[in-house]
Point group: C2
Chain length 190, copies 2
Amino acid sequence: MDKDLLKQNIKKNAPISNAELEQVCKHFYPKSITKRAFLLTQGDICKFEGFVLEGCFRIFTIDKKGNENTLYFAAKDWWLMDIDSFMNQTPSNLNIQALEDSKVLLIKRSDKLALYDAFPSVEKLFRVMSQKALVAWQRRLIRNHCLTAKERYHYFDTTYPDISSKITDKQIASYLGITHEFLSKIKKQS
Amino acid sequence: MDKDLLKQNIKKNAPISNAELEQVCKHFYPKSITKRAFLLTQGDICKFEGFVLEGCFRIFTIDKKGNENTLYFAAKDWWLMDIDSFMNQTPSNLNIQALEDSKVLLIKRSDKLALYDAFPSVEKLFRVMSQKALVAWQRRLIRNHCLTAKERYHYFDTTYPDISSKITDKQIASYLGITHEFLSKIKKQS
DNA sequence: CGCGACGTTGATTTGCCTCAACGATTGTGG
DNA sequence: CCACAATCGTTGAGGCAAATCAACGTCGCG
């Protein structure tokens, strides 16, 4: 069945009865998206949250100077959304683009909000997920401040080899906050 | 009463009945802490969450090279903890230090976990708080990548004038991820 | 008063960027 | 299926933002 991966992911994060799990999952609907297509573009208002079944996505912004800045990648078993736009219902600064043919499960914002009210276990689930994400962002900020570009690259490459192998060096560079020319030079010196 | 600020802060983040609010707040106990004293030091396991009633704190880490790196400041009406150590019960990489004589309300980890189970509204409260914090961290990462040191300094200075006025330039520099010498030069050129 | 942390300033170095050129890969239309 | 375009990766020359190191004045504090 389609939603097994989602169900496992949810159960990993918070205890939930099978009945509630069904109630939650039935609001997710599948969507296929082709390579290079966008799930969200800068200026849109984010009205969904997504869970990746297959493929890989890049969540990035383009600043005033025209530079691309990648917030994160989302491969199989990852969640994605623009939480800023989703929460505040303001125009998004982010683009969510498929890096290869991909499949996601989406839940509409209104359905998600209804689930919060219907099931305390859903509150817990997203509370736990958000707190884990917070930890990851704090650690990343520390790495950005304490490590050199070369060290950050090696951290990324060894920590996420599955993602690293799917994406271009240019995209890695925009995640690390450096130019792709400089990344090329880093890779050369070992 | 002592806990008014805490109660207002909670009500700002999530709807909660007065009865439940009392149940939640009664687990918070006050603590006074003198300038330069530590609420948590690197290596400790974080067993509390705190809410600042008065004063100001700095949450920072010291890396292998001996550089101080400030994750954030917490003034009146802010929450503080090492969420990484709190969640995983692993030794903390962070120091939480009072920058002036301060007062906090603390809740023990075990009490907080019990409150999650007792009240769905507490799950919602911390779910919402965590998601707001997530948005703030994402925005900060984007600023770090897209703005120059000078722009980041001015953003901090104008966005948090109350904090900015209380702390030393050295501390601001460690928050911005630059040296205090360079911050001095930035400030000079306007 | 005197010590230690802070802030400033200058000289020098370095990590990373910019621009430009060119081969290698990948995508696309005829 | 090939030809051409577009994007990507590499390399080099030069430049700039920010770090490092060092000296010195200042302030708060014991």
